[in-house]
Assembly symmetry: C2
Homo-oligomer: 257 residues x 2
């Protein structure tokens, strides 16, 4: 079961939007997908129309309670073939609670065992930090997508993120974490500033940057308020086309299952 962690410690760069819409695009092609909400803000949960506070069992219980498996906290969504492992604000306590626990970075990896027969693909939405939750996603994952907002601060954090991925690979064999790519987000074709930063990114990272970029569009911002992915909220929109294009690009990689 390929497990894609959507990671960037920079806030507001499009992680949740990418996690939801890429998952939905895979599900629309018939892949059985599990989206794991690993951010205590629970935006992936809300963006799929699920009430975080109405869940009696969430990712938090799965990580901290030995009697609760990840498989038992999954729930269906309004998207066929897409399940969700929701979270809520309780997960914020996990960071502190787990800080003394031996093997704390491996908890999600263990839990992923309980679901890998049920799904073809798992996507993990991470919080804007490189703390214990994101580390769990990186250790448990097989792949990483890094949404990168085309703005001034984009580059700075990337160096540290790529360094963290390297460290994880060394310290947790047989972790074979691969960076699938850097996904440029909030792209505005009309502005010089946006084009310059895009060129700079491609100049520095070459093939690591996806050909697909996600343009800044109103429909992508609106879809969560309808509790839907953009593919159902606005199927003809540029946002929908962009995320379908991302999944096409991912599937065109020969190594994909």
């Amino acid at each position: 079961m390929r497990t894609i962690a959507v990671v960037n410690q920079k806030g507001g760069c499009g992680k949740t939007t990418t996690a939801i819409n890429a998952s939905a695009a895979f599900a629309s092609l018939g892949y059985r997908v599990l989206l794991i909400d690993l951010d205590p803000q629970a935006h992936a949960t809300m963006g799929l129309g699920v009430d975080p506070d109405a869940q009696s069992r969430t990712v938090y219980e799965a990580l901290t309670n030995r009697g609760v498996s990840l498989s038992s906290v999954t729930t269906g969504t309004n998207i066929e073939w897409l399940d969700l492992a929701p979270c809520n604000v309780l997960l914020a306590g996990a960071e502190l609670e787990l800080s003394g626990v031996l093997g704390k970075e491996l908890l999600l990896a263990k839990e992923l065992m309980s679901v890998r027969e049920r799904y073809n693909l798992c996507v993990i939405d991470c919080p804007p930090s490189l703390g214990i939750l994101t580390l769990n996603a990186l250790v448990g994952g097989t792949d990483v997508i890094v949404p990168v907002q085309v703005h001034y601060y984009a580059l700075e954090g990337l160096k540290r993120l790529l360094e963290t991925v390297r460290i994880i690979r060394d310290r947790f064999p047989p972790c074979s974490l691969e960076i699938l790519g850097l996904l440029l987000t909030f792209v505005e074709d009309g502005t010089v500033f946006s084009r310059e930063i895009q060129q700079q990114m491609r100049g520095l990272f070459g093939q690591l940057v996806f050909d697909t970029v996600i343009h800044k569009t109103i429909r992508l911002a609106e879809a969560p308020s309808a509790g839907e992915s953009v593919l159902t909220y606005a199927p003809e929109s540029r946002g929908a086309a962009d995320y379908r294009s991302l999944v096409d690009e991912l599937l065109s990689d020969a190594v994909w299952t």
Copy 2:
């Protein structure tokens, strides 16, 4: 010395942009301002043209090393009357390092004593989390400004943030933390979606929402790449006008020093 914490656990909602440009606007009026970068991403530091990795002593040392005072890590900036207490990625270690320390939420409050004779105003840029660094800012601060991006997820996190402020006030007397206001950011007058969320915010929070809003403008996104505040980078721009208007609105409050 009024100490304003710029707080919101939501990523990318304009905390750093507000911390830099509000500080610059106060400094342009002759206030002696200290901007404290409390986010290990060091965006406030970079946005003022200071290299985080070139600093031998930063906020990290001031918080974790008894021999280093906050006063000793301050540095001048390219803005008259504005000093900076920079940080860099080392501060990311503080969260874990301090987790066992008794009185860990009070460290910044103690350090602020060492600078209060030198400045009229202190502004603290916080990371996108409600962890130990933000808690230090809330316990050490006298006031809070909450930048709120006019997007779907805006409301959810606010409830938790306002709850946290309440808890801080109860647990750390004589903390008298006041919320100066909610600052709507990334406002786009032209879109229905943006207007609707603005109305919703004002409907729910009334006077707590600043009259001033910060419009989404290219100059605000570009200014950090020049290492300047928008007030010098593009003094005639709407972004500059918006932040001057915010400071005017703050100063029109009779209780201001």
